[in-house]
Symmetry: C2
Subunit: 552 residues, 2 copies
């Protein structure tokens, strides 16, 4: 039996576009004499549709398009496609998260998701009733165990210490194994996390080895606002070895011969995961590209400060959108160092990106004059610092509004965590590119971009980080060095360790408490942050929901 | 048997503060010779703790405080207190949402929540394993069916058309009724919704009538960021009549004699719900008061435009915080009408609120000069309009940063819905007061505030709404009249009707499509909006989760 894996980039709610993509893949699979073609979870509409699922017409439209697809499928090939399904029972949530098996012009069989992830960025129990009835797909003499994403994750390792592998009271594969299947198929929509790729792969290889069954895993690829799906669909043999892996961060397609998925047959891929920083760079480029592509935006802008965050953001954006679609602003104040401007100009020139220099001093002075009746002779403080940041964002947004260049936010995860940024100032933007990337990884990205020649001027990489909002200001005035800060932050944010446990890993308890205090106190700023491209297991945004008004 | 209802305003994670409140109520109950005192859902920590529940130390601290409370409870009184509980089983979510029965110095019995709301603003399945084992509280010769909030909502009417009353496959009261209880107790944390108070009450009166049992319902009161809990705890007799209702929007306490909860005994309350607009006003004042009180903020600011939204916001804020804690800015441009300033001054004077007038024209001109190299002679458009709005927010935030006056956002739900506002401009603020109030209700609030004399000058109420960002601009230039707009919006947002069904209620289909298109296209602005005080069944914010990048 030959099974095609169709790893596609869907667009949520774009039914015509998704159907065209799907039909192309069916056509390709038919040409290559596949018996079956497998798509990803909720592929008819794209994942995650979120509260669009609360609209009856949305699921009705999904169903209509599944029917439409079914009508164009003949006898010669089977199709496994994901989509929401109405729960016609009298009780429970209104929908199932289902996979439809299409053949001979109609829907032949339906499989429903049993384990509904409801943690981090996942809210599936918000919409779906879990499945309780198991069945097998008998097709061309083979028995296929059809599962949907989390169904294979009944045992999973979480990064947080307060978690456990057995989050569910059901194990779908144990149920399905009673049907004595010949293989496992998994339709997934599993988002990227830079420290979890090995782990994700091991989930599938372990299942294959434990049940002695080949596994075909078809993942969604591409980005939907903050969520980036890496693709990397897998064909695994019954010994738990990766035989074939589809591309990361782009559409891919391949036909797998079931014969090749038995122990002893040659294994062409070793399943090594590429370098972590390279994966992060590719993920972010994919995130920017799809945000713009799907929103039908072409051009972007950002403020180039002479610092490393805006430099790295610019390199990523130029890769994703083309340097000809970037127009960046250099917005020096009286506190900007000369080399900030020179370095920025050099970077823009290296990349072939258009730049303009708009000094903000005059507007700043006019703001101070306007505020004179209120501020009198009070000493300058954070108020004046923030005015500068807000002048810059107003100028960037003016460019954005006039010429339709979407403003990219350049804040990194470390500063976003401790609130080192100005709301409506440098925290502005349509999309945050680095908001889930710790500062130390921003440096690694810069090194990675310079691997074959100098793209980012050395000065930008080596100078001490500074917001340049007052004379001689440096990040280390109020923060520990970033290598210390980032480890404390990761222990607290990703691993959710309490202060004492973070300190036990080798940090001063008072410092840890101060940093954690800063993270907690700045929840209100992050509430209004732009969507952040998610690359970690715990990004700021929809996957992290903390009360603003709380004392803990 | 005498049972005390303790309707308290908790502060999430403030364990010492919450315990003090709880102990005061126990003391009061003991003095009044109560047999039992009932608190609300998750009362030890306050509801909703959100992802604080993902920290092991948070639940451990909850448990420690429940133990501490238990130690101070003697033989003479029982206590029902809510808190998270570790799930010590080997499978399933790590916690239960539980109620602890305390007496004689220790935890005597535990009751767990069966129905876990996971829709709208609720995410309980994110944290909690549902209960499957039922038990009864036998206490002083009575059998009490202890339930937690949603446990009584197995049948519920949703406002959305695509919904159903039987969202769950279990009915806890049917299970508990097998124990032949003498009454039902419900510990709740049920947030305010201005069109659902009747309905909420009927949930409890219907259960009482159906099972022929008295119901005691103890709700949380007070606001936690966007969520406002109205209190209004109930004592209902076995005939389904409301015998006593505690106050709305403030702490309250009463001792109910079980003898009085039988059919035929005099009913002191008729359970009428106060006027809808009055309730909205009280809810918003409560929301502002608790946001500031719990965050330990004293002072607020806002921009007074001469329009009705900022006027109504100011009246609410002055009520909540005291006029002496307000300092508002009038920020006229060349496009502001004279009466905008006069009306605003009059309003501030009527309320006894400090105001300053800072004209923005000079800063605006300086921005235009700075942008001249980019904009050249291009005609003025939305870019220049937005610059004005952003100058205003920069000035307001400067005041906020310098003097610690928190900026209140004054946008209403109608304009927030259609994207009629400037990101980082008038969409700024620490808290949105009217973001869940349609414009037509903003007018009703103004009339309500003027009921005993003119607080808001007539001009502000009667003049045509305008953003005054270009000469002669009016809201109706691009929007239908607000009474039409608001009905379309409510049908789409609250009831989730598709365009054709909205139009069938008496609107032009093309208009409906245009409005809905505006709502969908402006999702990206609302993503960065401040927290919005929630008064409806579907507010923008955490309860409404739509993909930014979508084509539907």
């Amino acid at each position: 039996m030959k099974i095609a894996l169709a790893q596609l980039n869907y667009y949520i709610g774009d039914f015509e576009g998704n159907l065209t993509r799907i039909l192309d893949a069916v056509h390709q699979a038919t040409e290559k004499e596949s018996d079956l073609v497998v798509f990803s979870e909720l592929s008819i509409c794209g994942y995650p549709p979120l509260d669009l699922l609360e609209r009856e017409d949305f699921t009705a439209t999904c169903n209509r398009y599944v029917e439409k697809l079914a009508e164009s499928i003949g006898k010669e090939i089977g199709v496994l496609i994901g989509g929401p399904e109405f729960n016609t029972g009298k009780e429970g949530k209104l929908l199932f998260n289902s996979v439809f098996f299409l053949q001979g012009g109609k829907i032949q069989q339906v499989f429903r998701k049993t384990l509904l992830p409801t943690y981090d960025i996942f809210d599936e129990y918000r919409y779906f009733e879990p499945n309780h009835e198991f069945n097998i797909l008998e097709f061309k003499g083979k028995r296929l165990a059809v599962t949907i994403c989390e169904d294979l994750w009944d045992e999973q390792p979480f990064e947080s210490e307060f978690s456990r592998s057995r989050l569910y009271t059901t194990n779908p594969l144990e149920e399905l194994n009673r049907f004595k299947p010949d293989m496992i198929i998994n339709l997934a929509a599993s988002p990227f996390s830079h420290r979890k790729l090995d782990l994700k792969q091991s989930i599938f290889t372990n299942k294959a080895a434990r049940y002695g069954l080949p596994v075909l895993y078809c993942n969604q690829v591409g980005a939907h606002t903050e969520l980036i799906f890496e693709g990397g669909s897998l064909a695994i043999n019954n010994n738990g070895e990766v035989v074939r892996r589809l591309d990361f961060f782009q559409e891919d397609f391949d036909v797998i011969d079931l014969e090749m998925l038995v122990d002893g047959k040659p294994v062409s891929s070793k399943g090594e995961i590429p370098d972590r920083i390279e994966m992060i760079a590719d993920a972010l480029v994919c995130g920017i590209r799809d945000y713009f592509g799907k929103m039908n935006f072409k051009r972007a802008t950002l403020g180039l400060s002479g610092g490393i965050d805006s430099a790295v953001t610019l390199v990523l954006a130029a890769q994703a959108l083309g340097p000809e679609n970037m127009h960046v602003l250099l917005l020096p104040s009286q506190y900007s160092s000369d080399h900030s401007i020179d370095d920025s100009v050099l970077l823009a020139q290296n990349l072939g990106v258009r730049y303009s220099i708009l000094p903000i001093e005059k507007v700043f002075n006019q703001f101070r004059e306007t505020l004179q009746p209120l501020f009198g002779n009070l000493p300058e403080d954070i108020a004046e610092e923030n005015i500068q940041a807000r002048i810059r964002s107003t100028l960037l947004m003016a460019l954005s509004n006039k010429f339709e260049n979407i403003l990219l936010n350049t804040s990194n995860k470390s500063e976003t965590a401790v609130g080192y940024g100005t709301l409506y100032g440098d925290m502005s933007g349509g999309l945050s590119v680095l908001g889930d990337v710790y500062k130390t990884d921003v440096y690694s990205l810069a090194q990675y971009f310079n691997r074959d020649g100098k793209v980012i001027p050395n000065n930008i990489i080596t100078k001490p980080p500074s917001a340049e909002l007052r004379p001689g200001q440096k990040d280390t005035d109020s923060l520990p060095p970033y290598d210390v800060l980032d480890r404390i932050l990761e222990d607290y944010i990703e691993k959710q360790l309490q202060p004492e446990k973070v300190a036990a890993l080798g940090f001063d308890l008072e410092l840890v408490r101060r940093i954690i205090g800063m993270v907690d106190q700045n929840e209100y700023k992050r509430y209004q942050s732009p969507p952040i491209l998610r690359i970690s297991s715990k990004a700021f945004g929809v996957g992290r929901r903390l009360p603003l008004v709380a004392k803990y």
